[in-house]
């Protein structure tokens, strides 16, 4: 199937798993998912960066809330400066991005209405059909087709009825 890559980007501030607030740029592409690159400084007392987070929360410059779920640290680089604060840059990756709300888990996002698009729905809704109606009207005696056919088939492992004649439309 031919596909095209669509990439969206957001800039904003992110609350990291170790409690630091860092500036970052989030990109999302089909296939690769979300890639968050953050940069800033963190205390040298924090020896090792956290490597996984159930959720990371960000806010874009326009004020939109963003949530990344099941996020893994892909790359991290600390630039030694000799002071209490170490400049750092990190790259986090996630398969799920939620735009519009901060949630801790998928289950926290509770909703009662969803709109979703599935490839092929346009063709399914519009393509013409020149055959008979799929389902016979109930007045013509619709029956359990499976039961009709299976019952009419030669029974396996023993004699039985043959011939298919109980179905009518």
């Amino acid at each position: 199937m031919a596909e095209y890559e669509r990439e969206d980007m957001w800039q904003g501030q992110w609350l990291m798993a170790d409690g630091q607030r860092l500036q970052g740029e989030l990109s999302f592409t089909e296939g690769a998912g979300a890639i968050l690159r953050v940069f800033g400084s963190r205390p040298t007392s924090l020896s090792e960066p956290v490597r996984w987070a159930q959720a990371l929360h960000g806010t874009t410059l326009g004020g939109q809330d963003l949530t990344l779920l099941d996020v893994a640290l892909y790359r991290s680089q600390d630039h030694l400066s000799g002071s209490d604060e170490t400049p750092t840059s990190q790259e986090w990756r996630s398969q799920t991005l939620i735009l519009g709300v901060h949630v801790a888990t998928e289950e926290d996002l509770q909703f009662s209405t969803a709109t979703f698009r599935i490839s092929g729905i346009e063709e399914w809704l519009t393509e013409p059909w020149h055959g008979p109606a799929f389902s016979p009207p109930p007045t013509l005696g619709a029956c359990d087709v499976h039961a009709c056919v299976v019952a009419a088939l030669p029974r396996l492992g023993g004699g039985g009825r043959t011939g298919i004649g109980t179905w009518s439309t």
Binding site: I98, T113, S119, E123, H146, V150, G158
Partner: protein, 344 residues
């Protein structure tokens, strides 16, 4: 001629299923860009409203994936999810409440993006889909209800079939194993019956086991005899193929299909003997494709399709295809000789 600016025809289908309402609709929005250019935008999607809110994972499992799989069945091709938007209401800040209809809540919209959500290019223009919505005429609601009823019965076996059709990078052998496992589960859940009286089987098993002294041997025989009254995979597959052949007589051209599928599956899983019916490469491709057609025919029948309509659906989906008509097979030798003759 200048189009009406509010021209929005729509093809839609709507049904109440369990505790939700499903609507699938196509809307067309035409607008004028300047004096001479008209732009038409198409947008189609599913909209589902539930009585009780659900979490994202439950939404995907109970509603989104079933509808995705319905499209995979009806279109006969991969149908990835392209977008998902959640709608709900949140408590509004106090300063906004006087401006709200219910004086309390306001709508919130959240967009969910997953890495496997793909917006494909429209490549299906020359592909005839099996069962378009128009085949259902005014009976669309019943079809949706029947679909969910069938899907719930198939339950966790569904991914064996639909993921195989949706995931084109699967190894052929994996496709065969998934599809044969699915057909066994499908028959078991939709048309199962015992080979003979299970009570008789219990009595015979107890008599037999009473004669075995070695506890390990007794345990092994108990396991074997417990399933003696159940249909075998070969029997289930034979029934499904026979049923599909009733609708699509072209399948009768492949009397060895059951043996090919079962023997190849056994050869792969048990490293069993390579019988004459074990198939590879091209023949395996066709055997797998024919099994898909068998499942499609059976599912459409189980969804309440009449024989003629299901036959038309399969004829559309496999139009000029060697899957059901070996005469359409491209023969390389013949093509090469034809080309050479032409060159001379």
């Amino acid at each position: 001629m200048r189009a009406h600016l509010d021209y929005r025809p729509s093809a839609r289908i709507s049904a109440r299923v369990e505790d939700g309402t499903i609507t699938a609709a196509l809307s067309e929005l035409r607008s004028m860009k300047g004096r001479f250019r008209e732009v038409t935008e198409h947008a189609a999607n599913f909209s589902v409203t539930l009585d009780v809110p659900l979490g994202l994972a439950a939404w995907e499992r109970r509603w989104i994936h079933p509808l995705q799989d319905m499209l995979i069945l009806c279109t006969g091709r991969a149908s990835p999810i392209a977008s998902l938007t959640a709608h709900y209401r949140v408590t509004a800040p106090s300063f906004m409440r006087p401006a709200l209809a219910d004086r309390r809540t306001m709508p919130a919209t959240v967009s969910v993006r997953r890495a496997n959500m793909i917006v494909p290019e429209h490549d299906g223009r020359y592909h005839r889909i099996l069962l378009p919505r128009n085949a259902l005429s005014s009976d669309g609601a019943r079809f949706l209800q029947e679909w969910f009823r069938l899907y719930r019965r198939i339950a966790r076996a569904a991914p064996f079939f639909f993921a195989t059709l949706d995931e084109r990078s699967q190894w052929l052998e994996n496709q065969l194993l998934n599809l044969t496992a699915f057909t066994e589960a499908y028959h078991e859940r939709t048309g199962d019956y015992p080979r003979f009286d299970p009570e008789l089987n219990n009595r015979l098993a107890e008599e037999l086991l009473g004669q075995i002294e070695d506890p390990e041997a007794r345990r092994a025989w108990r396991e074997k005899t417990a399933y003696a009254a159940k249909l075998t995979q070969r029997m289930r597959l034979t029934e499904l193929i026979t049923r599909a052949s009733w609708v699509v007589p072209a399948l009768e051209r492949f009397p060895r299909l059951v043996s090919q599928l079962i023997d190849t599956r056994n050869h792969l899983t048990h490293f069993g003997p390579r019988t004459r019916w074990v198939v590879d490469d091209h023949e395996l491709v066709r055997a797998v494709q024919r099994l898909v057609a068998v499942v499609q025919a059976n599912m459409l029948l189980d969804l309440g399709g009449c024989r003629e309509a299901v036959a038309v659906a399969l004829a559309r989906g496999y139009w000029r295809s060697p899957v059901l008509d070996p005469g359409e097979e491209v023969r390389i030798d013949a093509a090469v000789s034809l080309t050479r003759r032409h060159e001379r």
